[in-house]
Symmetry: C2
Subunit: 249 residues, 2 copies
DNA sequence: CGACTCGTTGAGTGATATCAAACCCGGTGG
DNA sequence: CCACCGGGTTTGATATCACTCAACGAGTCG
């Protein structure tokens, strides 16, 4: 297996996009004990209320999402994840899962030994820093979602989600910023932005009619992402994509 | 100054509620360089878009909140903070603020040197673990807020916020679980739960009429917090208050 | 060819927003 | 001591965005 074929090389790449690593760091990450595992949608990777598992799932390919349930049975998706994300980074040091994680499409993961990952994060400052940044960016995304769901109207909400996924995919090298395949049903889209599937349908139609998106099944294309960003009130600041550069003055 | 008077002793206590610390850890925390600083509401502690400061603000007393703005000018409060919270833990390793932090009442803080705090977190595994837990719980709260704002109706939303603040205050030793003084205007309450101040007013009235809360100015009292929790769809799981105990099986 | 899931559309409803006015209360200054 | 002021609260009337219910179409799978 060549170095780039190593399943954890994607984790190395991701962390290096957050903070510089040494050769030793890279080797330590690649030496982590793990097992590959594939989930088919809509399999659960983690269930709300479960005690922490012995491993952490890292996404090699495919999409997944986090969700929480209200007492009424209503579902809220709280984030979407793609190749390079550590799915249970949010639970790395917590005893019990406060939300579920489900596969959205065929999901290839590396299940990394949790204790070993904890050690690496705590014992190696440079890796720790990169992981901190990653976890803090996750949290920043949650905050943006609170704003999205709390204070934007339907068109902006849906458009914002489309922008976020596009920008994050592009940053992860998964699309060209012109469009992508989003395997979310309109029901799930609604659960992500706090709307009904019916209203998502009408909202997507409206965005199409405005010329902001073009759809074909679950493929979404944008001719002019900038216009969509304006409609979505989207600013990439909260994604902190520039972390690897020197601190701003 | 006796040990308990030390402004950072509250930070020690908070971290010990998250994970065990050694004597050396405690000493290292108390040895952090800091300066006390008081803010009067509604002063800004941090502004969205600003580059990272040279220090991190730790709350000694008083309340503060985080907020983000939409392009329309709408405001969304994304969390509320009290004594024992590190306000910019969420930015500890990020270059630029993605949200603002404002004082809600007279706010006494210790401004801890950021680089020193970073070092402590990265170099001392036990402190690092406690800080990780703290940051991950913050993130868990953001997720709960996404659910709150996205999928609960007005009564449950407002009630949920009241429950969260009560439970967190009680955990921090700031109230008895029977009620408290909440220095939020109804406008701010609305900004926290994604409603209008007018609707918050009607919702509070409805909660009073249901006998779930009693109000006198900005004092809120509950005769039966359990009933309020049911109405709020509140479960404290997401606050992870049991972290200090052994991992669940 | 059912049976099922997902997407689409229409009609009616409802929860929350908006607009506007009155009220309350602590503070200030004459 | 009173008049006034300003921020916050309360209430009413109306508007609107998004939800609900319901039906139908298209695609897929066994």
């Amino acid at each position: 297996m060549s170095r780039d074929d190593h399943p954890l090389s994607k984790l190395v790449r991701k962390l290096e996009s957050r903070a510089p690593l040494s050769d030793g760091d890279r080797a330590a990450i690649l030496a982590l004990p793990f097992a590959e595992r594939t989930y088919e949608a809509p399999a659960y990777v983690l269930r709300e209320g479960e005690p922490a598992k012995k491993h952490c799932s890292f996404v090699i390919s495919g999409l997944a999402f986090r969700q929480k349930l209200a007492a009424t049975g209503a579902r809220q998706i709280v984030s979407i994840h793609m190749a390079g994300d550590v799915l249970d980074l949010q639970h790395l040091f917590l005893n019990r899962a406060d939300h579920s994680v489900q596969a959205l499409s065929r999901l290839e993961t590396a299940e990394i030994d949790r204790a070993a990952l904890q050690d690496l994060v705590l014992e190696r400052p440079t890796i720790g820093r990169a992981m901190w940044i990653d976890a803090l960016i996750d949290a920043s995304i949650f905050r943006e979602w609170v704003l999205n769901v709390g204070r934007r109207d339907a068109k902006a909400r849906v458009a914002h989600l489309l922008c976020e996924v596009s920008v994050r995919m592009e940053a992860a090298g998964l699309n060209d910023g012109q469009g992508y395949h989003l395997p979310l049903t309109q029901e799930q889209l609604g659960d992500a932005v706090g709307l009904t599937s019916v209203h998502v349908n009408r909202t997507l139609k409206a965005l199409s009619e405005l010329g902001l998106i073009r759809r074909d099944k679950r493929h979404v294309r944008f001719d002019d992402l900038d216009r969509l960003k304006v409609a979505a009130d989207f600013s990439a600041l909260y994604l902190h994509l520039d972390q690897s550069r020197a601190p701003a003055e």
